[in-house]
């Protein structure tokens, strides 16, 4: 069977298997990516991030419903942390989205971070490309609960929704500086909670400071309220996302972002290949020497790459 063709025709099982290969680092996944590349770059990739307990999954569930009402097919990548000790993970995000289980216009995939830092999993970029090529018009990427600077999703997504909640204590803790500089749509979820006015004022102030730094014609992030558990606020968020997409398209930024994603992918693949190539040359003796501290790691790495470069000079 031609998995790439099936995937491009929107066949769920084919897309699901391709993502599995990509997640597992199976070489067949990369062949698929090569074949589907021309069909990518169409989807609106939306990041949803925020601290743990902000209600991201419930908000995504609500956004799926809203996007479906607007006639869009929706792909979701829900990332949860893998254990750094065992590699295992409990991926529970789709529980909150279970009402979409039988909607053929919705594809939900749970992914463990598998050692990646930054709030995404190693294969999130590739998985987003698969969903894009399958014809999902909106691809929502829900990050792990983030702390301070785990904002890799910003580089992946066209539009990033930052989810805050009232009453997380120190307001600066609730949404860290890195997130504030990054997001395009801000949502105070659980807005029926005490402390919502305080959170609103705090975010308004920080967004005001950010607006002062931004140039003319820059996107002004809206600050919205939602109660995702009751489905309240979905339309305003979807409107804001559409406005942001229109803004990106009008400025040519939508296409430029796709280009930057390709560039990042290229660099990360090149890094991976270079590392693999160099490690192939790593003699057991060198590794033993590092472990036994007979050679410092800096010199060992330099020696390894010097050997790699010497043995096969790059083609001009």
């Amino acid at each position: 069977v031609d998995l790439a063709a099936e995937l491009l025709a929107g066949k769920v099982a084919a897309g699901a298997r391709a993502i599995r290969w990509l997640d597992d680092g199976d070489a067949r996944g990369r062949d698929i990516l090569r074949q589907i590349f021309p069909a990518t770059g169409r989807a609106h990739i939306v990041g949803v991030t925020g601290p743990p307990g902000a209600g991201k999954s419930t908000l995504v569930d609500m956004l799926i419903t809203e996007q479906r009402a607007r006639g869009r097919r929706v792909g979701v990548l829900a990332i949860d942390p893998s254990s750094p000790f065992t590699g295992g993970a409990i991926l529970g995000d789709r529980v909150r989205m279970s009402r979409h289980a039988l909607d053929a216009g919705v594809f939900i995939r749970s992914m463990g971070t598998r050692g990646a830092a930054g709030g995404l999993s190693r294969a999130t970029y590739d998985a987003a490309a698969v969903l894009d090529a399958m014809g999902y018009e909106v691809v929502i990427v829900e990050t792990v609960g983030v702390g301070q600077d785990e904002i890799d999703v910003v580089a992946l997504a066209h539009s990033t929704v930052i989810v805050a909640v009232p009453g997380l204590g120190d307001e600066v803790q609730a949404v860290k500086a890195g997130l504030l500089e990054a997001g395009e749509v801000f949502v105070i979820n659980k807005a029926d909670r005490e402390g919502v006015e305080q959170t609103q004022r705090h975010l308004e102030l920080l967004l005001h400071l950010r607006a002062g730094r931004a140039g003319q014609g820059a996107w002004q992030p809206p600050l919205l309220r939602a109660i995702a558990a009751r489905g309240e606020g979905a339309a305003a968020i979807a409107d804001a996302l559409e406005a942001h997409r229109a803004h990106l398209t009008a400025s040519g930024e939508f296409v430029r972002q796709s280009g930057r994603r390709s560039e990042q992918q290229f660099l990360s693949l090149a890094r991976e290949a270079a590392l693999a190539q160099a490690l192939e040359r790593a003699t057991p003796e060198l590794l033993v020497a590092v472990r036994e501290r007979r050679i410092d790691p800096y010199s060992a790495a330099a020696r390894l790459f010097a050997a790699a470069a010497g043995a096969s000079p790059p083609a001009p």
């Binding site: 597992d24 680092g25 254990s83 529980v95 039988l102 050692g115």
Partner: protein, 146 residues
């Protein structure tokens, strides 16, 4: 001396409950045991229909579907799930079940495609060992094919 490969292939397991019961202690304990064993455990929610579980299993491309059943009705819903997976081209997934399942129902479920029924009181280590053994056998078979 070995350098850790830049790839990892954890077993992916969908754990789900069919039917109306909301007893989650057993499924939660199993989930944690599997996570400790390095597996990726996906929850699809409570009160799921066989159709919803089949859809989740395919979207998540899991290796194993584990059903926890603590109410009657498993003699209908479990075979139905197996049939749906088969019909949708996902018959390669390992099907197991556990919970309150009377011994006299086991042959019916085995015939429906369930490889193993873990009855009440099963040690989680037994479940982990069973899945790891299955994975090992499948890796060997895959290697032979490719």
């Amino acid at each position: 001396v070995s350098v850790a490969a830049p790839t990892s292939r954890p077993l992916r397991v969908l754990l789900a409950k069919l039917g109306m019961d909301t007893h989650t202690v057993g499924i939660t304990v199993v989930a944690h045991a599997l996570r400790e064993a390095g597996m990726e455990v996906i929850f699809s929610g409570l009160k799921q229909t066989p159709e919803a579980v089949a859809s989740a299993a395919i979207q998540e491309d899991v290796d194993v579907v584990g059903i926890s059943s603590l109410s009657a009705g498993h003699t209908r819903s479990l075979p139905r799930l197996a049939r749906l997976l088969h019909e949708q081209g996902a018959g390669d997934k390992l099907l197991v079940a556990g919970g309150v399942i009377p011994p006299e129902d086991v042959p019916l479920l085995t015939a429906a495609g369930y490889a193993r029924i873990f009855t009440m009181g099963t040690d989680t280590r037994e479940i982990v060992a069973y899945l790891e053994n299955w994975r090992q056998q499948r890796l060997t078979a895959d290697a032979a094919v490719r």
